[in-house]
Amino acid sequence: MFYKMMVVLLCLLMLSGCWSRRELNELLIVLGIGFDWVDGEYLVSFQVVNPSEISAQKRGGERPPSTLYQGRGKTMLEAARSLTAEAPRKVYMGHLQLYVISEELARMGIGDFIDNALRDNEHRMDFKLVVARGMRAEDILKLYTPLDKLPTNSMLRSLETSEKNWAPTVSVTMDDVLKKLSADGTELALTGIKLIGSQEMAESKRNVETFLPQSRYRYKGIAAFKGDKLAGWLNETESKGYTDITDKLQSTSIEIPCKKDTFIGIEVTSSNSSIESKIVGGEPEFTIHIRSEGNIVERGCRDVDITDPATIEKLEREADEIIQGNAEAAVKRAKSMKSDFLGFGAQLNKDHPSVWKQVNKDWNDTYLPDLKIRYKIKMLIRKTGTTGNSTLK
């Protein structure tokens, strides 16, 4: 009996739970990380949730919904640990949503410092990466946003929504980055984010107390990489072409000019695209297929008769031209940058691996700039909203 009691007691002492447990109130839940390069060190800014401010029961309001902790270090870990000198808890990465990289660091190359995120067991591979365009990453994370209290949440949703419903952004997760940086014949492209308005205002709560917040974030342009280094920014047309060709797009708006300064608005409701590679006379040739469907949502010119099938056909052809223009702009940029962010090489590798083996060494420098590319674009206009021609005179 005594023996058994001792065993039980010992068990109670020895097996009292796991020693690496971390309760909820011991976690510093990181939602966003900003990376900057300052004085030869990483300056890592962790945006963490302020749990009492976002809880549903209590109405907070006195403090910001999230707090920014910053640490410096030669490695990610050093930076993350050095901030415990000012933060009450240890960071927890399981809920990381956004990874903001400063443009300066992106131009230096991201291959080395994302290694920690690939290696660490708390990082899931599903957070998105963006580049702080022309500014420091830490500044992006210091922003009061309306609607969504947590700025990273707001940014994440905006990125996801705009990728699907507005062309010139891409949401790229960590595992995509790994794939793109490991693969042959394709380059990484990340969306740029920037702050509009004054930094001072962004950091103050007054920013969200007005109807039109003076400071806000905006996704602007796509950063095309060459290897792991940022090589240049695509403008809006090129960005649209990029998302169109790489089949990221689902819906967007196309404006067809009908008179001077007036336009017919078309909502693209679905869009599919593919790149086809062919070998003609030993040389690779590509055809970009884009097939979109859409509706007329705005008739800016009252003299266009959209009840006439012939008009619809004409509008379809004009929309084709606009889509093709975007695609051509993106291709032209890829050629001039010598960066295959559209993934022609990868497609060639998939379809004709033997040809790819011969050309992959000097693909970007020799073959890409002179690539022959054809476009097969088909826009189908299906509906005209709830009305035909309106009776407006």
Binding site: S20, D126, D175, L178, D351
Partner: protein, 388 residues
Amino acid sequence: MEQFANAKISVRQFTILIIIGVIGDSILIMPTIVAASSKQDAWLSMAIAALLGLVMGAVFAAIANRLRRQSPITALQNRIGKAAGGFVGLLLLFNFFMCALTLMSEMSQFMTTQMMPETPVNAILLLFMAVIIIAYRYGVESFARVSELLFPVFLFLFLFMVILLMPQVDLSNMKPILAKGLPPVMMSVMPAFVTGFAEMVVLLMLVPHVAGKAKLTKPILWGYAIGGLILFIVVDLCVLVLGPSLMETKYYPTFVLAQKITIGQFLERLEVILMLIWIITVFYKTLLLFYALTAGTAQVLGLKESRMLTIPYGMILIVATIVGTPNISEYNKLLIYYYPWFDTVFCIGVPLVVLAVLAATGKGKASGQGGHAQNSQNGQNDQNGTNP
């Protein structure tokens, strides 16, 4: 040993143990192993390995049928004498020991890298070993029955994972097929084949307990086929969902696979539940090896009791695991470059020797000295059965 002498498991339980054993640790490490040289053709390597696995299964079945429900060690001792039979037996035991060691190492590494980074491996190994020893002491019948209970759980979780991953499948990850030709694909076949299928030589130690006198070809081949199919599906999903670079980069791609599940932003972060899959299979494979090691030692030495071996063996295994695999890089190097050769010798070579001996000594002579072999009763039954 007395209490196990008449332990009987059904043919069904035998099959299930083989399936779980084949899946074993391979479900965790197989994708990385096959992707290492065959990249996006990993599924092809896996398919070839699984087919070769069936051949291996046929070899094991041939041995199992010639054993007449005796353990390979006892059978060899009966046929070619105590010393020679014991020597071959020791080779088998050495293999079981090494294999158990790698599995323990794998288990502890997986737990500490993915789930509990701050927990010392010793603690995990200690608990894992304790459970295995307890399972052993309950006996073959009990753990075979529990495997029958756990197998549906395993299948359910596995199907759950497969179905929830369907939306993420991207067929273009497979292309280009055979870009670098067949050699890199074949390079991956070999390690996949030996770790997944040849290591299950341990099933021979279960033969004395299988009920009935029927031939064992069918259950063994079914076990190999189903186990191979499940491994093939896992590797396939890894290629289709993760793509070759992630598969090769991460140590445990199957875990990343489970992390990938997101259905409508609410059914996600399921990896910890799905971890049960790996715990079940790794546990059973280790248990089978530990069983074979302990029971086999008792047979070689002619001991009446094997329970007293469990705790010493457990202690030796834990220490050997920690000393033998000090860090993960060393372990992986061992696993990828050297272990396949070790397996080839001990899991293919030694069984072939056993088969040759069994075939050569043939019928008639079997179990003549059943007096001190613990399976005397079965041996006699078999003799009656085969020589009416």
